[in-house]
Each structure stands twice: as structure tokens, then as C-alpha cells.
């Protein structure tokens, strides 16, 4: 599952690097240690004991992300995330952070396409505090116009910082907006600026009332705790919260793509760059599916480590690019994309780089991959399994993101096994089947002199913090 892991890390990087400097990679097997309990109100509590240090990470995940938004109020999932720190009937605005800080804790939150999550890292003795505060804001949030009017300005500053003024952010935003026709993944997590400008506190309130309920949430705890005690604590704090009738979720499947799509983005920059997104299947049935695992391995063969194909061929040997990348994330609620990206070397054009990238992909379609390079990617998967156990935060991230993207956390073991079983022929086959022009959207950054206008784009995830 390296690929799941590599992509997972990549998807989080924008978000997480800022939290834990030196965050390690990935997940943990030892699933025997994971215990789960469901409260009568539908809240699920998942605990992974890790006794290496006297600390704990507590997360509350809501299955409500930007993909659940409607046109006109894009970005509301993330705006509500900010408002969750602005007071409840019991805790005044701004107090949440102060109380956690005074308990020696760190707290923050993040919003992605599939979910919104809130987290605290604390000494283990402080877990009750985290539960008390999270249970309180699950049910008792007070949204006022006054606080909203200030915070929406902060969110617009965040959009300026991450997207408006960042060429790579704009490029990615335009790539997604072009590659998807009907699926809400076409909108950025932070929302379109005009939607933010016209958002009201009532939009945020409606979002909270629709999705914030124990039967739409999962509590994940990793750390030096006893699972049975955590379940008891969860009953005590979250048990009395009433469940809600949740709205129906429509599939919103994409119509078939009818040919290659191209988009260009002008922004102040020195170098052009290129992103190529191929539509690809997501994992639906971890036990029975095979293609998503082959696509994960394909991404690993192309860019899973320093010796992988794209960097070796295009950056080091041919010197046509200064940077290249490939990524695919199989685990999400909506449709997946297999994304290739690159920056041409001085004197080379994006068209030349595009041809070179296509040539590397064509080689895999025609000649396949060799056993040695497949084995190398599988070695990454095995090692990552161990390395990721160094980070409690990451282990909690992995459980929560899988669960809110509709995969039981137990599927981690299945996914690892299935990744190890991928054959060279399967990798070649998914390359042949999915890396075709009719699935492709290409976005090109067209650099403009600084004296010109407007900058660019942003990452998929957003965080509340700095």
C-alpha cells in the first residue's frame, strides 16, 4: 500500500508538515491492537493503543467534506471548521484553544474533500478534557454573525495565501475544475472566492445542523490509553448527544469523458509547468478489486522513490525536466485521478516535456515493468509499514481518513496483502487501460512577468491553523 501511503502522505503534506515537523510516513499493521465500539447514538469510537510515550492523540472525524457542498456555498465545510473554534453554549469564543493550550495540548483541524477532522495532542491524563470539549462543540456550537464576519475574512486571507497568489495552487484548482464535469470534486476545498464573499453565518449554521451529529462522526484515539476506559469515557461525554436524520447522499457520478481536455493558467512565475490528470477508478471493494492496487504500484514504479523511472529518465538522464512527479490515491469517496506533473528544464518547452512524459508512459504500455522494479516498490510498502508506527498522529489520520472515505479500517490489512500480490502484467494492463487520451486533462502554467497580473493555485486540503 505504499502508494496509498505515499499519496496519503502527499495529500497531507500541505496540511501536516506544519503540524509535526518531521512527521513520519505512514500506517501501522498490528491491527489486532485496534478496538472499536459503537455508542447507542451511532457514534463510533476506534482506539489504537500505543504505549511508547505517555501521550495521546484524539481526533473527531465528520463525514462531511467539500464534496457534500452545493453550488453557491462552496467552501462552507471549511468555513464551519473555522467557526467550530468560535464558541459554544458552555465555552466562549476563543476559549477552546486557550483551554487546550493551558493543558499542555496542541489542537487544530483540517478539511478535505471527503471529511472534516478536529484533533488534540495531549498528555494521556488530559484525554477527558479533549472529549469534553469535542462533545460540547458537536452539539452546542453557537454561531454568531459577529464572529462569522471576522472569521470569513480570515478564510479569504487563507484563500489568497494558498490559491490566489500561488501559481501551483491555481494550476491544480483549474486542473480539477476542468477534469470533473459534474462531480463536486471539481470545486476547491477552500471554495470559490465569490462564494466566500457571499457566504453568511446562516450558511454555516445550516451546514452544522445538517452534518454535525454523532451518527455522522467517528472518534479516533491513538496513544497510551486503555481501549475499554476510552470507550467508557466516550459514553460519558458523547453518549447523551442525540443522533440526527442524515440527508441522502447522491452518487453524482461523472458522465463519460469524450476526449482530451486542455486548460492553461496565466500567473506570475518564471517557469512553465504541466499537470496531466487521467481519470482512474477508486477502490470500492478492497477484497475483490485489483485495478486500484495495480495503479498504486504503477505510481510507485514511476515516482515512488529516488530510483523510480520518471526522475531517473527525465531529470537525471535526459535532463528535460527539473522536477517530475506521479501520484494516485485509490482511497476516496469520489472518483480518482492518476496525476503526472513536471517542470521543464531551462530551454525546454512544456510540449517537449509532455512528449517525454507520454513516451515514458508508452514504454510501460508496450514493454511493461520488470520484476525488480516492482519488488523495489513493494519493499517501500513493507518498510513504510514499520516507519509509520513512529507517529501516533499519522496512525490516527490513517484510521480516520479511511473510515470517513467509506473503508473499514480493517481493510488496511487487506490492502497491504493485495498490494504485495500485484503482478507486472497487472501494472502494464492498467497503464494500457487508463493512461489514454480520452481520460486525460492537461493543465499548463503559462508564466507571466511579475509586472503583469495575477498569481495562482492550492493544495487539496486546508487547515485551520498556521
Amino acid at each position: 500500500m505504499l502508494h496509498a501511503y505515499l499519496m496519503f502522505a502527499a495529500r497531507m503534506r500541505a496540511v501536516l508538515l506544519l503540524v509535526i515537523s518531521g512527521a513520519t510516513m505512514a500506517a501501522a499493521p498490528a491491527l489486532a491492537q485496534v478496538a472499536e465500539h459503537r455508542l447507542a447514538n451511532g457514534l463510533r469510537v476506534i482506539v489504537k493503543e500505543d504505549h511508547r510515550a505517555p501521550t495521546v492523540v484524539s481526533m473527531v472525524w465528520y463525514k462531511a467534506g467539500s464534496m457534500d457542498e452545493f453550488n453557491g456555498t462552496t467552501g462552507v465545510a471549511h468555513v464551519l471548521e473555522h467557526m467550530m473554534f468560535k464558541g459554544t453554549r458552555n465555552v466562549p469564543a476563543g476559549e477552546f484553544s486557550k483551554v487546550v493550550a493551558a493543558a499542555g495540548g496542541r489542537e487544530n483541524a483540517f478539511t478535505f474533500r471527503d471529511y472534516t477532522a478536529y484533533h488534540e495532542q495531549l498528555h494521556k491524563s488530559q484525554l477527558p478534557l479533549a472529549f469534553r470539549l469535542e462533545a460540547d462543540r458537536m452539539a452546542n456550537l453557537v454561531l454568531t454573525k459577529e464572529e462569522f464576519d471576522k472569521e470569513i475574512k480570515v478564510v479569504m486571507e487563507e484563500r489568497r495565501l494558498r490559491t490566489e497568489d500561488r501559481p501551483q495552487g491555481l494550476l491544480y484548482e483549474q486542473l480539477m475544475a476542468t477534469a470533473f464535469t459534474s462531480h463536486p470534486y471539481r470545486s476547491p476545498v477552500i471554495g470559490w472566492m465569490n462564494d466566500l464573499e457571499n457566504m453568511t453565518w446562516n450558511d454555516a449554521r445550516e451546514w452544522y445542523e445538517r452534518w454535525y451529529a454523532p451518527n455522522n462522526a467517528i472518534v479516533v484515539v491513538v496513544g497510551d490509553v486503555n481501549a475499554a476506559e476510552v470507550f467508557k469515557l466516550a459514553e460519558q461525554h458523547f453518549g447523551a448527544i442525540k443522533p440526527k436524520a442524515l440527508p441522502e447522499r447522491k452518487p453524482q457520478d461523472e458522465p463519460v469523458q469524450l476526449g482530451i481536455r486542455r486548460v492553461s493558467v496565466k500567473a506570475p512565475a518564471e517557469l512553465p509547468s504541466l499537470m496531466m490528470a487521467y481519470r482512474a477508478p477508486s477502490l470500492r471493494d478492497p477484497e475483490r478489486d485489483s485495478e486500484p492496487y495495480a495503479l498504486e504500484m504503477l505510481a510507485g514504479v514511476l515516482d515512488g522513490h529516488d530510483a523510480a523511472r520518471l526522475g531517473s529518465a527525465l531529470v537525471r538522464t535526459e535532463k528535460i525536466a527539473t522536477a517530475v512527479g506521479a501520484g494516485y490515491d485509490s482511497t476516496q469517496r469520489g472518483p480518482a485521478m492518476f496525476i503526472i506533473s513536471g517542470v521543464p528544464s531551462a530551454g525546454k518547452t512544456v510540449a517537449e516535456l509532455e512528449q517525454a512524459l507520454r513516451r515514458e508512459l508508452a514504454k510501460i504500455v508496450s514493454d511493461g515493468v520488470n520484476e525488480q522494479e516492482l519488488k523495489r516498490v513493494k519493499s517501500q510498502v513493507i518498510a513504510a509499514q514499520v516507519f509509520q508506527r513512529d507517529s501516533m498522529f499519522f496512525q490516527a489520520m490513517q484510521i480516520g481518513s479511511l473510515e470517513t472515505s467509506d473503508y473499514p479500517h480493517q481493510s488496511m490489512d487487506i490492502m497491504l496483502r493485495k498490494l504485495q500480490q500485484v503482478s507486472a502484467a497487472q501494472v502494464q494492463e492498467v497503464a494500457r487501460k487508463y493512461l489514454v487520451d480520452d481520460n486525460l486533462t492537461i493543465a499548463v502554467l503559462d508564466p507571466q512577468p511579475l509586472a503583469g497580473r495575477k498569481p495562482v493555485a492550492a493544495p487539496t486540503g486546508l487547515r485551520h491553523g498556521q
Binding site: G22, A102, A103, H123, A383, S391, K454, Q466
Partner: protein
Amino acid sequence: MDNKMRKLWCVLVLWIAAVPAHALLPIQHWQAKSGARVYFVESRDLPMLDVSVDFPAGSVFDTAAKSGLAALTASMLKLGAGGLSEDEIARRIADTGAQLGGRFENDRAGMSLRTLTSSEELKQALDILARIVQRPEFPAAVLEREKARIIAGIKESDTKPETILARNFGAMIYGSHAYGLRSSGEVATVATLTREDVMGFYRRHYTSDHAVVSIMGNLPRAAAEALAEQVTAVLPRAGAPAVISAVPDLARAVSRAFPHPATQSHLMMGAPGIKRDDPDYFPLFVGNYVLGGGGFVSRITEEVRSKRGLAYSAYSYFSPLQERGPFVIGLQTRKDQAAQALDVVRATLGEFLAQGPTEDELAKAKQNIIGGFPLRIDSNRKILDYLGVIGFYKLPLTYLDDFVTNVEKVTTIDIKNAFARRVNPERMVTVIVGADDVAPAAAGAKP
């Protein structure tokens, strides 16, 4: 919250105080035969090992004429060494599943390795680490390619407001001191760097007697000793350490504004701050938590973000180095709000300098820093980072054990006095990028 919280906090402090010295982190320290200083924590919890080898070889050892040489040298280490090509090195590392990393800072440069401790993988990964640290070859063709990539990166970076801000800020607070040089180098200087330059820099700065080897993880002591020899034994010795000159105070306040088409202005204020072994370190560290370091609860975040919605991120920090690292206050805000945000930050700083923190603020800062202490050392990666800092800056082995005591000792008066000594608004630099509309007037204003 208060009573209950205070009780919990007391429990925590007692818990920490009850831990005997060295039990928090049993650091083993010795000097290898090569002269390298070794710092080791053995942990059998996970079948993995983290190692780093650092040298006094950061960007402070660059000269203006050859700016970028230190970074180029560090980045070339793994691109051909010990008879292996860059691709062969990459393949051998990938085959083990190990991860090779580099460190490059103002003072330090080095390599790190994270590997499984199963015997075959460990052996192969350490063999590669030993080669790239001690026998880099700096192949000429690779060097030219990397120079081209670095130059492209600098040109790209120079279009970004945060880069324009940082490089001008550094140059303005450090003048001709090498801390003011951009670590990547400049387009013109990188272009002139030769293989001889790189080899000379390597020979001077990657020496065994100034090497710091940090080891964290699943290894017996004897194997750790062998490892330390293996990765440093054939390095040259240098004798006297390279000297970093002292950083003078700024003579006066200086403000500059730069145009940029971005929708936000990026602002930075600051001055040379403190050295790693500065006696004011703890008062400034704790005080800065209150001023702008404590995330959502700091005064700067409260005034700029929470009360006024002016910025997503607003902060202050001290970055202590061998000599005086910078003190920085920064934020980004919509252009037409830049002057207002600058006024708010200046007023916030001014009030903090005049009054110091309140007793309540200090108590809460201590609660966070002391109560959160276990979070600082709850993973191998974090512990490795501490070993590296303790080793490189020659901090006492009891640094982490003393940390809580040192924080606990700080008083409001200590903080006020330390800030008065170290932060003088009459001698600070202010830089605004993206100031074409409103900000030049503000930038030119007296603090």
C-alpha cells in the same frame, strides 16, 4: 475550567518532576575513534533505526562571491559516492525500503537515514550512508546538471513574494554577515561554482572531529559504536573549528517596500536575535510564546487574526543559531490592509515590551510548555532531532531534563528584561512585499 485545570496541571508537573534525571531520555554519549561526537538513545519498541551525521557545513560558511557552495556540496553527497553512481545509490537504498534525507541549515549540514533493522536491510543501508558521507565523488556532469536545476529553482523562487521577503529581510538584518546570504545562493554565484570549489568545501567542512552522529532506535550499544566508526572513520580531521563571526546590532530602524502583483502583502519585522547558548534563551522562549509563538493563543494572533480578521497566519519567533539567529514577526494580509496590520503588530509589540506578560499569561504559557513537554519527545524522529541539536550545539546531556526546570524558573520580570535587552523597535528592519498601493507610506513610517 480553572480549578480543575490547575489540579490536572499540578499532577502533570509532579509527574515530570518525579522522573529521575536522565530517565526522560537516557542519552548515551561518547567520542568515536575518528573524533566524532556520538549521541545515542536505544529503543527496542520498533524494528527501525534513525541515524544522522551532521557537520558545521551550513550556509554561514559561504562567502558572498561563492554563495550557494555549501548547499550545492550538501546536495551532491548522494549523487555519486564510493564507486557507485547516483542511480545505483538510489536503487540500493530503495531496495531496502530505507529513506535517505538531507539536512541543510545556516549552521549545519548533513545526511540522515531511516532504515529497518533487519540485518540485510540495515547492512546495505548503512553501507550507502557510509559511502555518501565519506566518499562523495561530485561527478562533473551531475554537478553541472544540479547547478542548472538550482539556478532554475532560484529564478522561479524569485517570483514569489515570500522569497522576495525572506531574502531581503535576511540581507537587511545581517548586512555583510554570512547569515544574510541566501542559502541556495544567487543565480550569478551558483553559475561560477566549480567541482574544485565543491571538493575544497567538502574537505574543509566535512571532517570527523567536528562530525556529530545521532543514533536513535533498535540497536545495541556495541553496534551503535561500530556504526559511528563506519560512517566517520575515513573522514579527514580538521583541527580547529571554523569560526563564525559575531553578529552586530542594527544601527537603526530600516524599512523597505517591494512591489509585487500578488493580492496580499507579505510583511516581516525583526532583527538579529539570540545565540543558541544565550543566557536569555528561556525568558525569550517563554515570553515569545505569549507574544506570537503560542499558536492561536498568542497576542499577535489574537490581535491580528481573531479580533480583526486581518490574516490567516501571524506569528513571531526566535531562531537561535551558533551566533545570533533572527527574531522575526510576520504575517500576510490583503494589500489594502497592510498598513493597518503593521500598525496592529507594532502596537502589540510595543505594549508587550513596555508591560511584559501578565502573571496569568506567564502561568498559562508554562502550563502549555511544561504540560506539553511529553509531546516533544514522543517519537523516534523527534528524539533524533533533539540528539542532533544537543550534539551539534554542545548543549548539556541533561538539556531535556533541565528544560522543564528552566521554563519553570522564568518570571515576568525576566521576560520583560530579556525582551528589553534583545528587542529594540528603534533598531528593527521592516519589509513589505506587495506594497505597490498603500504600504510604502506605512513602511517608511517610524516604528
